[in-house]
Symmetry: C2
Subunit: 327 residues, 2 copies
């Protein structure tokens, strides 16, 4: 079944049961949780009927919301069968919820609990096709849920946008590799602390870059800042020695990103700005482009981390704890 | 009107209107958003009918969820009339939602948009009475909403717990000032980076300490870590030189905090642990104590930041940008 068919099937089942779908819960850990934020953000902002939330998988298991029941869709995601996600989907399955698992190849231990399976490939590979990342898939899934359960008037615009992604990605890669990615890497060759800032539609991709790329992969301390929260705390640490990477989104929240950008440029010196507008987001219709910021920025950031790893001579595969011991 | 009467009034109005309350949105910025997380966490986990979410006020205004309508309760919070919160409550008022404003004294520009007003005092003062913080008030408000709209079987236990808070706070202050707070301050006298980690019920208080106390007040870089996310990224930065403050909660999510604690102790050296269990949380009934972690930990952390400011000779009132310029 493709994504559209999965959603149609759930809808048919819920109608046959006579019990409407009440909620959509996005459940994962770390980079996967960050990835499926793309789908969560769309649905949470656009749905008028559904309760929408995202949870770290372990927290979902330990502090399950009482509203969770069989009339919920659980969208779980893991590349390699994360044990916490396995626990979570098992729970969802026992409760009788509609379980969708977005997962990497294999993972037989965990796919048995999934009513529906969507396969994805890691964004750790810069060349992973755009329609095979958990980011795009969660977003497409949410557009389908939104449209099939409630009708979404910009659905066609969204589907058209997905068709553009592969070409856009090629252009973005060429663009950032003509200097932007190298510039970021050079500026941060020796930095021990790099802030990452992002606005509402890019909170997932910003969190992923801070958590996975900088802290996990490069062992760089990285406070992650919601740009709309910046002036309520963390801006006080800014000076000319502080490195900050700011992701600027296009769409309704842009104003708040620009406000932070102007402050960063006024008082900072090691400021890297990555703006969705320089990454051809304008090729996507205004009606839906806000929801593609995450997808677009991610393409560029895959190149940023690749260059940073080279310049710092700290290969992307190096870990000191992960995969090396029990914890 | 007291908190219970406010909720009763909203319920009566919604019944008269024949339209049930659908959602509760918690809206604020920075430390206030962190504070009212206490109420959001309770309601989001325990309510079976209500859609519950929290938003930075500006993001709420710029990317208002389509589900927001007149059958929603908007809980807005600001100490001194934050402009973004003013914008948000104005919007909520125009839409016809039930607006509750938890705010500091005065604030006439903004109270005019509130259907109901609850006054609070800042936790920046260590002696602010326990029932006058936005943390306790948002929590009490959520217990009332939960009980009056859906019936909550542990309501009496919760109300009893609020009655204990002032005595508990006095004990907690004495306890941490007999060495724990000073120890934390001494260990972090020269640190430029301090991680703050917390689990599900303490994400608000952890975020507040990281954002407001460390970054805003002390200009210390502070990555904030959800303990259930720790092994999915940021644990890779841990070594014997890294300072980490971990908040351990009591309740259902404790297991995940303890897992992180054990790793921190195994590979770290500058680890400060603050456990709700050493802060007399056991005086509160098991049925509801999970929801009081935030309240309890906050009392101790007010002393921690006070001591840290003394040891670092960086008074709590010093700012370089905030209140000093337009931005």
């Amino acid at each position: 079944m493709n994504v559209s068919e999965i959603v149609a099937d759930i809808r048919a089942k819920s109608e046959a049961r006579g019990e409407p779908v009440e909620s959509v819960y996005f459940i994962a850990c770390g980079g996967s949780l960050a990835g499926i934020y793309a789908g969560k953000y769309l649905l949470e902002r656009e749905s008028v009927k559904l309760r929408v939330a995202d949870y770290n998988a372990k927290q979902f298991v330990l502090t399950t919301p009482r509203a969770f029941n069989k009339n919920c869709i659980a969208v779980c995601c893991t590349l390699k069968g994360t044990p916490e996600v396995e626990e979570a989907i098992k729970l969802c399955n026992e409760v009788g919820a509609y379980t969708i698992l977005i997962c990497g190849d294999g993972n037989e231990d965990i796919t048995e609990y999934a009513d529906y399976i969507i396969r994805f490939k890691t964004v750790a590979d810069v060349n992973t096709p755009m329609m095979e990342t958990n980011i795009s898939e969660s977003l497409l899934l949410s557009f389908e849920i939104l449209h099939q359960f409630e009708y979404y008037k910009f659905y066609e615009d969204a589907i058209q946008a997905f068709g553009f992604l592969e070409n856009m990605a090629a252009k973005i890669r060429r663009y950032v590799n003509k200097g932007r990615a190298q510039e970021f890497a050079e500026m941060n060759k020796e930095e021990e602390v790099i802030y990452v800032m992002a606005g509402a539609p890019a909170l997932g991709v910003g969190y992923a870059f801070s958590l996975c790329s900088l802290m996990e992969i490069q062992w760089i301390h990285s406070p992650f800042v919601n740009s709309a929260e910046y002036f309520h705390g963390s801006f006080e640490t800014l000076d000319k020695n502080l490195s900050v990477l700011q992701l600027i989104s296009d769409g309704r929240s842009r104003e708040e990103d620009l406000r932070a950008e102007s402050f960063l440029k006024r008082f900072g010196k090691k400021i890297s700005i990555l703006d969705a507008k320089e990454l051809c987001i304008d090729e996507i219709k205004d009606t839906v482009k806000e929801y593609f910021n995450h997808v677009i920025l991610d393409v560029a950031l895959r190149e940023y981390i690749t260059q940073l790893a080279i310049v710092r001579k700290h290969p992307k595969e190096v870990r000191r704890y992960m995969w090396k011991m029990e914890y």
